[in-house]
Symmetry: C2
Subunit: 399 residues, 2 copies
């Protein structure tokens, strides 16, 4: 039998990250390629205790079918949590519990985009989201950065072009892959552009709570008065990703469509995970827990940056994140980035080639992504030193 | 802001079942409308014990990100379980763990169907699957039953029509909604037709283990030598649905596409559920557990049939399932089914109107679906009596 597959799937390649992560299964490999939260940060004992309590006293509540919208107890706890510092969920909004925030990306494209419709994204942006959009036939229109912020003129041009985009996908805090954060002024201007051109915003905020420097900047959702923003919140980076719990917050009419999509997709999300997270959010001090994660990430990030400063060739540039999990490294133009990444892999250090994060991965790209949340401190020291030697080899030789 | 949604979603209506299930939230209501397994059948104590063990000894294995294909321990356990009586997974096949078998329906349509492509289905068939296909732009082509089996001439005609269908969706065992089972001969002939016309089969088998009468009939997957069958196995009906664990088994090339779809959809399924189910499958006597569920369902089914025989007007026809969870009831042609269902709701008994399960729900339909796995014995007696009175009222009055 010769199989024929849908056209939409041919747009989605087995991801570069995936292939590299396979190589990182080798225990010899020092991986800066992943995006895993640090396992030290998981509230293991608390989850164990809550889970035992639920399974002993109300097992049927997590074993029987649930409703698509999500467990009521979780929705209440998550609403309170999301609204604790700013208003994410207003009385015009509704929440849908999803199986990780990846599913929110899929539902956005599934419910809003016909085949060939355009999604505007930052260039570079999160590969998983871009693949979700492409897997539903959406076409990406990337907007570049200029002087460390999204180029608003380029964004306005992208919004004026035909066909008119369906939504703008943004990660305003500690972006994946760049680690960069949008200023309040840029957020306000993007929202104003979205209103002017009547284009929705999908605001993805998995890392917002992982700030270890400076003051929190209001989310675009909290600034929106016109029902323009779909907000994706995730508990993967602040509780545990293997549980697969996230939530979408958006105007009721949009969430109702998402609910129909979720019914057709997986009926509802795992109930044990929802219940355990609900109790954790309610019964423990989340802000103290988040503070402890921030400390871990701050130390790891500063260590990596310090080692990079020590070992990297001065012609190599990189972002200095104030939160999140990633650093974006840019080689001088005369150095071939893919060759660099390949040579690093041969020396047992894995990073992700930057072109994987572009709207079109065949574009020229001199950057790669490094992650500091997963490796141990020793591995950070060891791996950065090896990469540093390679920057000297390649930047000197090629110049 | 005026929202515009994708065309594909306008094909998927908020389901009739969903609306009826809302009515059943009323504790006064006797619901034969659901499709929940009996909570008595959940192995609660065993899940509690296994979960405690995992969370105390290897919590990180269920809290950190996992791989898209599924937890290796679960895949091994599920392979052994599925292959215990017949060969489902051959050496040409691969398994993908999914978040319930609903997700397998979605991935089949997503990876195999372009917009407008045709899926052949039984008429009636499982609403959730039909919605998944439609939500990805597929068009349904229903094949009717004749003398208690799928009409093979009609199936062959459906396979000959243009455009050529992408796959045939079948529930051979204790079908939802009819409760009917395909004979071995019909299975063989369908497989031969699939081979002749080079059309894949999506074999959905959530109820196969719930047989309480007669001998098991080989799955179509086990008869296939040509890589024609995608097999959907679910643990929702034999362990617990709230955990959302199922698995797709198909030729490697197809599963590889499913993996890409799953990566874009939800990255991977909840790991706690996979690990708990793996241990349950390995460490407990599944066949004994299944035998205990069969007893519960046998008693409930026979009770419902007995009460129906006692109370229903003789002009009402219904299937006599040998397993599964559903009975399909057909009113005489002169009785309006939707009026019947509405009047039943007014008398606090909920059943699902049969047109909801058709390829086109505006077609004339005189049938409705009754579920016996969820209600208590008392509710079965009480509810069937009320429905019985209504059959007398409506069948007599109208004749």
């Amino acid at each position: 039998m010769k199989y024929q597959f849908a056209n939409r799937m041919s747009n989605v390649k087995a991801s570069a990250i995936r292939e590299i992560l396979k190589a990182t299964a080798d225990p010899q490999m020092i991986s800066f390629a992943g995006g895993n939260p640090s396992a030290e940060a998981f509230p293991v004992k608390e989850i164990e205790k809550i889970s035992a309590d639920i399974l002993s006293h109300e097992p049927i509540s997590v074993l029987q079918y649930g409703i698509t919208e999500g467990d009521q107890e979780f929705i209440q706890a998550a609403t309170k949590f999301l609204n604790r510092h700013e208003q994410i969920l207003t009385d015009k909004d509704q929440m849908l519990v999803t199986s990780g925030s990846q599913q929110i990306m899929e539902f956005a494209a599934k419910t809003l985009c016909n085949e060939g419709d355009v999604v505007v994204c930052e260039n570079p942006s999160f590969l998983g989201a871009l693949n979700a959009f492409k897997s539903l036939g959406a076409v990406l229109r990337g907007v570049e950065y200029k002087d460390g912020q999204l180029d608003l003129d380029a964004l306005e041009k992208a919004l004026q072009m035909e066909p008119k985009p369906k939504f703008i996908y943004l990660i305003p805090n500690f972006q994946n892959p760049t680690g960069m954060t949008m200023s309040l002024e840029v957020r306000k201007q993007i929202l104003a552009l979205a209103k002017k051109y009547e284009v929705l915003i999908l605001e993805d905020n998995p890392y917002g709570d992982l700030r270890f420097e400076g003051e929190a900047i209001p989310s675009i959702k909290s600034l929106d008065q016109d029902g323009l923003v779909i907000y994706a919140a995730s508990l993967s980076k602040i509780i545990a990703p293997g549980m697969r719990v996230a939530c979408a917050v958006a105007p009721r009419e949009i969430i109702q469509k998402f609910v129909v999509a979720k019914q057709a997709s997986d009926v509802h999300s795992n109930l044990w995970a929802q219940k355990v997270m609900a109790r954790y959010l309610c019964n423990y001090d989340m802000d103290a827990h988040i503070e402890s994660i921030r400390k871990i990430y701050k130390n790891k990030c500063y260590l990596m940056l310090e080692e990079m400063k020590k070992h990297f060739h001065p012609s190599v540039q990189y972002t200095k994140p104030t939160g999140g999990m990633f650093i974006w490294v840019t080689l001088p133009e005369h150095v071939d980035m893919l060759t660099f990444v390949k040579k690093a892999l041969e020396k047992n250090v894995a990073v992700v080639p930057g072109n994987a994060f572009l709207d079109d991965d065949t574009k020229e790209c001199h950057s790669f992504r490094m992650n500091y949340s997963t490796p141990t401190d020793d591995k950070i020291r060891e791996g950065v030193k090896i990469l540093g030697q390679l920057t000297y080899e390649m930047c000197e030789v090629s110049s």
